[in-house]
Amino acid sequence: MFRESFEAMTRRRLTVGFVCFCLMLLVGTAAFAQDEPSMAPEQNQGAQLFSSHCAYCHGADGRGGRAPAIATLPKVVGLSNQDLIGIVHKGEADQGMPAFPDLGDQGTKAVVQYLRTLQGVTANGPPAKLAGDPDMGRKMFFGKAQCSTCHMILGKGGFMAAELTSYARNRTASEIMQAIVNPDAELQPTSRVVSVRAKDGKSLTGVVRTEDNLNITLQTEDGRYHFLSRSNLAVVNYTDHSLMPPDYGTRLTAKELDDLVAFLIVTGRNAPAEPAPPKSRWHHDD
């Protein structure tokens, strides 16, 4: 196979380098901004130490780069605090992980606690005890609660709503519960149900997938995209809700809701590790 011209490669590296730099900034800012308000002093210390000692290799969000994605790899998430503290303190020479004895007991503990927040695990992990039964939750998701009519998990389910395999990874149980019982509190623009009426009187209701000042595209439950020109529409009604039923809080029992949340949390924990986001495209050393 032919290698690309040097010029093209150089250009790509520069572009990619710049994009990566911006991405890192964004990711870094987002990760810290998210955790800042509720952060205890030792967590703050942990964030700083993570940034100065770990982020260079593991990424500012712990999702990998030069070294593994310790925020998402199930085998790392599954380690005990004591294991993690040991690894930070002594390193893993055969894995290329250096030892950080200079962090001291307090610093090491803070870094591990911060890593737990990146993993979406309760600060004093191991993984939080689940209120519900994940197996019952799975049955609920694909059965009575009909979540899978619209949501997909690990390739099973519908297409109208968000894919949820790793949804719970960075969310607490109470956040997930809120999203189920109060789904429109944080309505995503591309989940909003919109009804339109054309000038000729015909009407259509769907989820708005993309829009601008001239056009609006609705997707109906059969999967079809409807590409509409605003100039042909008499009415465009933006509802304040998605397709998600608003009544799960009453439709399901507290136990069933806990089961659903437990299922989502366990699914997120076991989700396949995502490949690292595009950070470095350095290549062609031949």
């Binding site: 196979m1 990619v16 030069r66 297409f159 894919e163 009407s203 529409l233 009415v235 995502e274």
Partner: protein, 568 residues
């Protein structure tokens, strides 16, 4: 912003008033009632090829279409690989009015090598490991499946190149840089399954677009210069289960293995299938090109013809069994991959109607083969500066000049970029001409024996530009199958080289990326340049055409953008 908010509030108010009407009309609350819509004429919906606009559900009949109309359903548009669109709205007479309609910026790709696929007004493209669905009329994003790139890959895979998707039913399929086959829901971009079909820690990667044949998804890999054994593999489109795998290099004891030395050279020998193949449903045969053998420039460690590298293999799509092969470059020493699209042409050849394959090879010769038997029928040298061969013998085997790369280096024409390459050719049944881009570049190729090191390229040294070599010429060529000669050859002006393919239309146009970073349209009969649009960045991609509501569009990728064009 203020104006926009204001306008929305007005709309919102009006909508509130009208909502009651809508609710009344539908007889139920708007919430959770999307099934209760009435078909809207506002969308300009029109049935096209049995598929409603915006409704993605690709049937076999559509993949088997004999002519490319509104939809461009695969990398090459149809199974013949001829990239000829039957759309005829744009003609030599009106092409001067062709104008840009939209640009889509992918943000994360280096240089796109994708050919867009369009179904029912929805365009699917890939850039690196990401897939996108766009409104093909406006370029607006409908969904984006984001997936990080893989680190630690070798050679071409490490460039995260991707050439696009395949579609079947409500599903979209793509390969990833680390040789996974992804199945996505075409209506959401949701991942349905993900199958690793080669080991990226063993120098495999992927850059191609998959090809759907019946109920299977066919894939290949990159890594042919890096010490892998090539293959074409088929996966069940529903389940992702492997159906068959054809190794392009026979194992010891199998037929063809006598063309390799004893030992493990065959495991490192290349022959990867890094471009989509073509398919003849009547003959129930797929045609796939393979890459050069490895190590590229040192043949001393792999004496023999090295089957089936630098070859075309004809396979049974149900079983993966070999029907016939034709090797363009036995024991190649010059990086002459033979993955250029093997175009299926039904035409009169020397007075007899035949099922042919026409292909221009990287080695500088154009070939015509009988695609039923694989029999060699004809060849024509198209590279003017060629020095590696004197010609082709009656069996189709090159008469080599025995230029052997050594430590000092030897001048070889064409060089390792090839006299043509993976960028698309096209066959226009109206003109009976075969169109392709060619390049007159030479290289000094050097070789020295080097041990294979896992995870490293396996070229066994490399190349340099010949001293004092002038700028090399490129041509867009029109080869007339009626009289077996060139109808025209247009020398390209304005830049060193381009990596952009060619397509043709029933409107009488040949469209291609020219050397000046422009998308250009010429008169297909004469080659007269009629229109060009400066894209401002290099094209490493091949163009396509589609239609929505009777309007013909062209699309091509340049840099990390996709551009679409239509008449006003």
């Amino acid at each position: 912003m203020a104006m926009r908010t204001g306008r929305k509030s007005v709309v919102g108010f009006a909508a509130f008033v009208m909502m009651l009407t809508v609710v009344a009309l539908q007889g139920q609350p708007a919430k959770n009632s999307t099934k209760a819509w009435v078909e809207s004429s506002a969308s300009g919906d029109a049935l096209q090829q049995g598929t409603a606009l915006g409704q993605i559900d690709v049937q076999q009949s559509e993949l088997l279409q004999k002519t490319i109309k509104n939809n461009w359903v695969s990398y090459n548009g149809d199974y013949t690989g001829r990239r000829y669109s039957s759309l005829a709205e744009v003609t030599p007479q009106n092409v001067s009015h062709l104008a840009a309609k939209w640009v889509f910026h992918t943000r994360n790709a280096g240089v796109l090598e994708v050919t867009p696929v369009v179904v029912a007004g929805v365009m699917f493209i890939t850039g690196s490991n990401d897939a996108y669905a766009l409104d093909a009329r406006t370029g607006a994003l409908l969904w984006h499946h984001a997936r990080g790139v893989t680190s630690g890959l070798v050679d071409d895979a490490s460039g995260h190149i991707n050439r696009g998707v395949a579609v079947l039913g409500t599903r979209v399929y793509m390969e990833t840089d680390n040789a996974h086959l992804l199945c996505l829901d075409a209506r959401s971009g949701n991942l349905i399954w993900d199958v690793a079909y080669a080991d990226n820690t063993q120098s495999y990667g992927a850059t191609s677009a998959p090809l759907i044949v019946k109920n299977k998804v066919l894939v290949g890999t990159s890594g042919g210069d890096d010490g892998v054994r090539g293959f074409v593999a088929a996966y069940d489109a529903q389940t992702g289960k492997e159906a068959w795998r054809f190794w392009t290099i026979p194992a010891p004891g199998e037929k063809g293995s006598e063309t390799w030395p004893a030992g493990n050279a065959y495991l490192l020998g290349g022959g990867t299938a890094w471009m989509p193949g073509t398919y003849d449903p009547e003959l129930n045969t797929i045609y796939w090109g393979t890459s050069n053998p490895a190590p590229d420039f040192d043949g001393s460690v792999r004496p023999g013809d090295n089957l089936y590298t630098s070859s075309l293999v004809a396979l049974d799509p149900d079983t993966g069994k070999l029907k016939w092969y034709f090797q363009f470059n036995p024991h190649d020493l010059y990086d002459y991959d033979s993955v250029q699209t093997p175009v299926l042409v039904d035409a009169t050849f020397k007075g007899k109607r035949r099922k042919l394959i026409v292909t221009a090879n990287r080695n500088g010769f154009l070939y015509i083969l009988d695609r039923t038997t694989g029999k060699y029928l004809y060849s024509k040298q198209f590279m003017k500066r060629m020095n590696w061969a004197k010609g082709i013998d009656k069996n189709g085997r090159p008469i080599s000049n025995h230029l052997i790369p050594d430590a000092k280096g030897v001048l070889v024409c064409p060089g390792f970029a090839g006299a043509t390459n993976w960028y698309s050719p096209s066959y226009d049944p109206q003109t009976n001409m075969f169109y392709f881009r060619s390049f007159e570049g030479c290289d000094v190729l050097m070789a020295k024996q080097e041990p294979f090191k896992p995870g490293r390229p396996y070229y066994s040294t490399g190349s340099r530009t010949p001293p004092g070599d002038v700028a090399n010429d490129s041509y867009i060529n029109a080869f007339d199958l009626t009289n077996l000669d060139f109808a025209w050859r247009d020398k390209q002006i304005g830049g060193r080289q381009a990596w952009a393919g060619v397509m043709t239309t029933a409107g009488g146009l040949v469209a291609f990326g020219n050397n000046a970073n422009e998308f250009e349209m010429d008169d297909a009969r004469t080659g007269k340049p009629l229109w060009a649009f400066k894209l401002g960045q290099p094209m490493h991609a091949s163009p396509m055409s589609y239609a929505i509501a009777g309007k013909q569009y062209f699309a091509v990728a340049a840099g990390d953008d996709v551009f679409a064009f239509a008449l006003p």
